[in-house]
């Protein structure tokens, strides 16, 4: 436990916290890489996942890629990309983004796939265009699994960005790889603690965010699913409920 104390002291020592390569800069870099690579992955994976889920075409891609990717060692992929794309920022970001794709793809695919086909047919019968069906029916109904995919993707990226620091890349993994050769255990531990905190905090914030943006219909359906209140649907339309909604 002595070491933990040393690591905490290390983090709060002003020359370690501020300035170039300090804790604050490294946290910022780590978050920056995460947002950048998850965004790249999302632009590719989410439309593809929705397409596969709603058409059923190329389903093998969603199931096999996500299965095989689990065994693909992140460290190896990062090293391989590092050698081919050179020491620029492109290599690590590309490797990290590729590893962020499977959870997003699986989430989007599974979310859309799990929607009752009658719901889609009903939407079409109502005269909704295909685009409206995707944006107003499929995405909201798939949102829970889709968001789950985003959460695991973010965690995957935070972990991979740590390992990718040996390329070399900035971010919190820097503390681990800088401390390792000189056996500066407090510094390595400080980096590790910060990564763990960042991962836990990001996951928690994303979980809370979903509560805010979750479509109301999905919230009701989930509630009924859990069997917590079978009358919830009725309550939703009762006057009692509408009065409850006004309280902030």
């Amino acid at each position: 436990m002595d070491y933990i104390w040393q690591a905490v002291l290390w983090i709060f020592t002003p020359e370690n916290a501020f300035g170039e390569g300090g804790v604050i800069e490294r946290v910022g870099q780590h978050l920056g890489y995460t947002v950048l690579s998850v965004s790249i992955a999302a632009v590719i994976a989410i439309p593809l996942g929705i397409y596969i889920g709603s058409t059923g075409r190329m389903r093998f891609l969603a199931t096999s890629v996500t299965g095989a990717m689990r065994a693909l060692p992140t460290l190896g992929l990062v090293a391989f990309f590092g050698l081919f794309l050179g020491a620029s920022l492109v290599a690590p970001i590309a490797a990290i983004a590729i590893l962020a794709i499977p959870p997003l793809l699986a989430g989007a695919y599974a979310g859309v796939e799990s929607i009752d086909k009658q719901t889609i047919t009903a939407a079409r019968a109502q005269g909704m265009t295909e685009w409206q069906i995707v944006t107003q029916v499929e995405v909201p109904l798939a949102s829970k699994l889709l968001w789950g995919g985003l959460r695991s993707s973010v965690l995957q990226v935070i972990a991979t960005a740590t390992v990718a620091a040996y390329l070399p890349l900035g971010g919190l993994g820097r503390f681990i790889f800088d401390g390792l050769p000189v056996r500066d255990y407090p510094q390595m531990l400080a980096g590790s603690l910060l990564v763990i905190l960042l991962a836990l905090a990001s996951d928690w914030i994303l979980a809370m965010t979903y509560r805010l943006i979750q479509p109301r219909g999905v919230a009701v359906a989930l509630h009924i699913d859990r069997g917590q209140d079978a009358n919830l649907l009725e309550n939703l339309y009762s006057s009692d409920h509408s009065s409850k909604r006004k309280t902030p």
């Binding site: 090293a79 965690l155 531990l189 590790s192 763990i196 836990l200």
Partner: protein
């Protein structure tokens, strides 16, 4: 290809090291998860707690965990034991849920019939519920096996030898072939363990083959 032949001895040795680091977490993880998962299945209140803890555990990235564990275990930082403990924790985190869901999947009529036939609670769990839960447990175990084999390579960062050594060494020497050998080797090990688990799973539930035929 030449490089593979010339260095076959080293590749083989690292493959064995890799297996020695992968198998204990999978086996010990399963042994710990079986009772925990059953408790999570049986007692509703414990399920929420256990799934929350395992979700939290699974959130922790592997490399930081490898570095944290020596503080908690009193081990040396280069001790392979740290990697084994960390991977066992991940295995338990994943498997508790699978085992609980596996026991959930046992049809209630079967459970009721076994009680009516006079099975004691222990007999019922071990002789009726557990065998019927095997297919779902095997599915969870395959996920654990693949991710464990892949995560073992991260240990090479802190000097615990496995196929991951080729990633570090190949990168430092600017030699892509070596990195590629490490990646292919890791995937092969994962594929072999996966096959073993699938075959073992089939042998444990011979009646499913009869049902299909």
């Amino acid at each position: 290809m030449n490089w593979v032949i010339l260095n076959f001895e080293q590749i083989w040795q690292l493959a064995l090291d890799h297996l020695a680091l992968s198998i204990p977490p999978i086996v010990v993880g399963l042994l710990i998860s079986l009772p925990l998962g059953w408790v999570a299945h049986r007692y509703r209140f414990s399920r929420g707690v256990m799934l929350a803890i395992s979700g939290l555990l699974y959130t922790i990235p592997s490399l930081p965990l490898f570095i944290m564990l020596p503080v908690l275990l009193g081990t040396k930082i280069l001790d392979p034991f740290n990697v084994i403990v960390a991977l066992t924790m991940y295995a338990v985190a994943l498997l508790v849920r699978s085992v609980a869901e596996a026991f959930d999947s046992v049809p209630d009529e079967v459970r009721q019939s076994s009680i009516a036939m006079g099975f004691s609670p222990a007999q019922r769990v071990l002789q009726v519920e557990l065998p019927l839960a095997v297919p779902v447990i095997v599915a969870g175990l395959r996920v654990v096996s693949a991710s464990t084999v892949s995560l073992v390579t991260v240990g090479s960062v802190i000097g615990v030898s496995s196929m991951g050594y080729f990633f570090m060494n190949g990168f430092q020497r600017n030699f892509p072939t070596e990195v590629l050998v490490g990646i292919v080797g890791t995937i092969l090990i994962a594929a072999i363990l996966d096959t073993v688990i699938v075959i073992a799973g089939r042998m444990l539930v011979p009646w499913t083959r009869v049902a299909v035929a």
